[in-house]
């Protein structure tokens, strides 16, 4: 059967008939309709629910205190993450400070994701994966062209940096605003001599949850880790859910985990209280 699209009315009917189709990779609107609402979270409280396609990206502005969760249902997701202070986006994730201030290179529950301005943008609250990487960043066009023969966003092997550039552009940001990123669900380790070894995934069904400590622009690119040795462009779906929560405060373990971290949260609260009045 061919579609009847030879008049505007027919074309409108044809378009409208498509709206109820579904895909494995789509936003769920309203968010409460997500078929994958996290256990223990009231679906009615969800403010963001989405499955990001392999080789896809997403972006969102969330409020301070928002809890957001990344799920790797197949064990092949790789969530490359960038964070910006939504109020002043030139404040953004600083990987060096994120490692140096807690004196720890390997990200896990309790780790603060710091800006270059002495504040916490987000805190990792829970982590069932433990396979993450803050050394290798995401893939560039040159890297993917060499490895997969393609890198363009509309092609079979999008580069993470190209996807970040698209997400950034939708918030008025440019490639100039893209610092190094961190990645979740595909790990890497550094040996005594500095050698970086890809350690891969912890398997299907792991999740990482974060608290937004300031209003954030979140950029996510779901592309293979640059050191993934598999010759094919291998990446699985990435699920994102978010719901309202509270910023990390004096009663939380992450707040008191070290004197450096306590001062980072104090700086964050100080900024927010002056700014928000």
């Amino acid at each position: 059967m061919t579609n009847q699209t030879d008049t505007v009315w027919a074309a409108r009917s044809d378009a409208r008939a498509r709206a109820d189709l579904t895909s494995d990779f789509m936003p769920y609107l309203p968010a409460s309709s997500s078929p994958f609402a996290p256990a223990g979270v009231d679906p009615e409280s969800l403010v963001w629910a989405e499955t990001v396609a392999p080789g896809g990206y997403t972006h969102r502005v969330v409020a301070r205190g928002t809890r957001f969760r990344l799920d790797d249902p197949t064990g092949d997701a790789c969530a490359h993450l960038l964070l910006f202070n939504a109020l002043e986006p030139w404040e953004r994730l600083n990987v060096a400070d994120t490692l140096k201030i807690p004196w720890q290179a390997y990200l896990s529950a309790g780790h603060p994701l710091l800006s270059g301005d002495g504040r916490v943008l987000a805190t990792i609250r829970t982590d069932t994966s433990g396979r993450h990487d803050a050394f290798c960043g995401t893939s560039s066009a040159a890297w993917n062209e060499r490895k997969y023969g393609s890198s363009i966003p509309e092609g079979p092997a999008p580069a993470g940096r190209s996807l970040f550039a698209l997400g950034a552009a939708k918030h008025g940001l440019t490639p100039r605003d893209l610092p190094p990123s961190v990645s979740f669900f595909q790990g890497a380790r550094v040996d005594d001599e500095g050698g970086v070894t890809y350690t891969g995934s912890a398997g299907p069904g792991t999740a990482v949850e974060f608290t937004a400590e300031l209003p954030l622009v979140i950029l996510l690119a779901n592309v293979p880790h640059p050191l993934d040795p598999r010759p094919a462009y291998t990446v699985g779906p990435l699920r994102v859910h978010a719901w309202p929560g509270s910023p990390t405060g004096p009663g939380d373990d992450a707040y008191t985990a070290s004197p450096e971290r306590t001062r980072a949260y104090l700086n964050t609260t100080d900024y927010w209280e002056a700014r928000a009045q």
Binding site: V95, K100, G116, W143
Partner: protein, 215 residues
Amino acid sequence: MLDWSSPLSDGRVVLDERVEPRASWSAVVARGDTLTIVDVGGNQSADCLIFDALDHDERYSVPDTITWQGNAYVRTGTVLRSGSGAALMTVTANEIDRQDTIGGACSKESNTLRYGYHTHFQHGCRENFLAEGQKHGLGARDLVSNLNWFMNVPVEADGTLGIVDGMSAPGRRVAITAERDVLVVVSNCPQMNNPCNDFNPTPLRMLVTRKETAA
């Protein structure tokens, strides 16, 4: 003890400048020229950003440099790459075991986290980068991850990492050759709270040499 040393590359000296302790510096290094940085007093961290001289969006990237070589440390032969993977400069000679690119820069703000609020009034590398960058139209958005020449940041097996005593000494040098025309911005780290410069900032000498072409 100060050792001003000499270039670590053959050729005619086309630039020879001294950077005061705690101060910033920048210069355009032409393609094919080699910049020698001399650690005059020893264990003085030279925090460094590199930009394509004509396209400042094309700039040094720590993760790309690490990924392409599969190693977190910078040594002779390391190609210093931009976020698009392009080669900006190559380390062509190096007189310490390894150079750091994971420790990042200090700032007024991050120093309050590491050492307490009493350090907030002190000058930092981020401040040097902003001040020097403004001479070239660069702002906070252009401050990305950097190199730290002569600084030592080991990563332990459990992921513990931090800045420890350096492996440098007075007069030790590193030479980096420009793969294209690049803008090099350096902060001669002002740290007084940190073994990255023995708690005592000392000068640097910056030498650019140009290979003589055969007549």
